[in-house]
Symmetry: C2
Subunit: 253 residues, 2 copies
């Protein structure tokens, strides 16, 4: 006994490092400022680079930092609020909903998609790719699945793909009466194609928003939208967004 021994739990180095860096970000850095490179930082704190990187990874996950290969590590601005539940009961593609149609093609659904649509795998679907930009930077990529049954008049479409075809599918959707919708949010990691569109590396953390649209007693459409988890705060509900900051923050010149 004797000594008071408060430090019964030796905190991991990277955890302590993260705390120290976090406080430094609040007090000594401005948004957009470039941090010293990883080798210098590691040397300054007397740890291996891998240990430093573990701390930086967490801070990036929390949206405090942004790292880009070949460029450097910068202080990230507070996460932007992205409205995702504003207009209750509205089809995708309705009177500007912040999404930009990109492409479309027919396809056979994967097992997972067919299950969510509650159809067989033999039931063909139209896929529509859309992207969402906010404050001048891409925040989300969406893959929309529409069973061919939901939009029968689309069979006479001329364009085999492209944005025009995407707009045609969305236009046909508006003609149905939307009976309800269903939404879920979970954590995922970006597939290669989504990552490219979001300007991130494959595997980057994303918030996956899955929405089912019901019409005619069936699931008439399924939307799988992946949002950048590092830069986005998904907002639901009536008013604007909740403003939560980590601490004092100033704007870079």
């Amino acid at each position: 006994m004797g000594t008071t021994q408060l430090e019964t739990v030796p905190e991991p180095k990277y955890w302590h490092l993260k705390t120290v860096l976090s406080e430094a970000l609040d007090s000594e850095f401005t948004v957009g400022e470039i941090l010293p490179n990883e080798r210098d930082l590691a040397a300054r704190f007397g740890v291996a680079r891998a240990t430093l990187r573990q701390a930086l990874e967490q801070l990036e996950l929390e949206g405090r930092l942004q790292r880009r290969r070949g460029v450097g590590t910068t202080v990230a601005p507070p996460r932007m609020g992205v409205a995702v539940g504003t207009a209750r009961h509205a089809w995708p593609g309705a009177a500007d909903d912040a999404w930009q149609p990109v492409d479309s093609a027919p396809a056979v659904p994967s097992a997972a998609v067919a299950a969510a649509l509650e159809t067989g795998r033999d039931e063909p679907v139209h896929t529509v790719r859309r992207s969402r930009v906010s404050h001048g930077q891409p925040v989300a990529a969406e893959l929309l699945y529409v069973p061919a049954l939901s939009v029968p008049d689309l069979s006479a479409i001329d364009a085999p793909s492209g944005a025009a075809r995407a707009r045609a599918v969305l236009r046909e959707l508006q003609r149905l009466e939307l009976e309800g919708q269903d939404r879920a949010v979970e954590l995922g990691s970006a597939r290669a194609d989504d990552a490219k569109e979001l300007d991130r590396l494959p595997g980057a953390p994303v918030l996956v928003v899955t929405t089912r649209f019901f019409a005619g007693g069936r699931t008439a459409a399924l939307s799988v939208a992946t949002y950048r988890a590092d830069t986005c705060r998904l907002t639901f509900g009536d008013s604007g967004g909740v403003e939560i900051h980590h601490g004092p923050e100033r704007q870079a010149s």
Copy 2:
């Protein structure tokens, strides 16, 4: 020129590993089954343990695996759907809302909390800790902030802390007329106290749901709920939950 050179992008080893393991999980393992330990797996695939761990980390992030120190790595069941937006416009603590009051204490709000409550830092608040259990395992920990102004009749309370005090604060809240609410979801990492309650290590990925409750023209309460990101899929909206699976999956005996 000459060679066709299709492999312009050499896939990182850990990414390829993750794909291989993911497919093996679908076809050769059952939920709850224990994987070989990391040293064996790394040797089997001919990579360093750190590289294997990078792949396992991603799979755990996606909810495919569960790792526990001193025990091993097991195949995780599909994520459970956790309703988070069911009863629109209801106070926390209303007619069983799946949360269990744990503790309560008076406190002075942090700068971030004060900003979200739109009050000064000198304005005292009541904090209420609650926990949420689903399918026999803890899924979320909540910290509720209630400005003392919102529940003036609480000043005569006897208990200085404990679950009884928590229930008293919640009871007082019900007496106010709820005028609206506001919700946001973002990615975070578990603080030490939340991690302990969620049976995870500090820094584990969590989905942070921030809800503002409005009454009397003010923000009458602020809820910050942290859900385990690995095991939970947050569901909103009218009906139950969206069932999305990764692929074929069977139940262990």
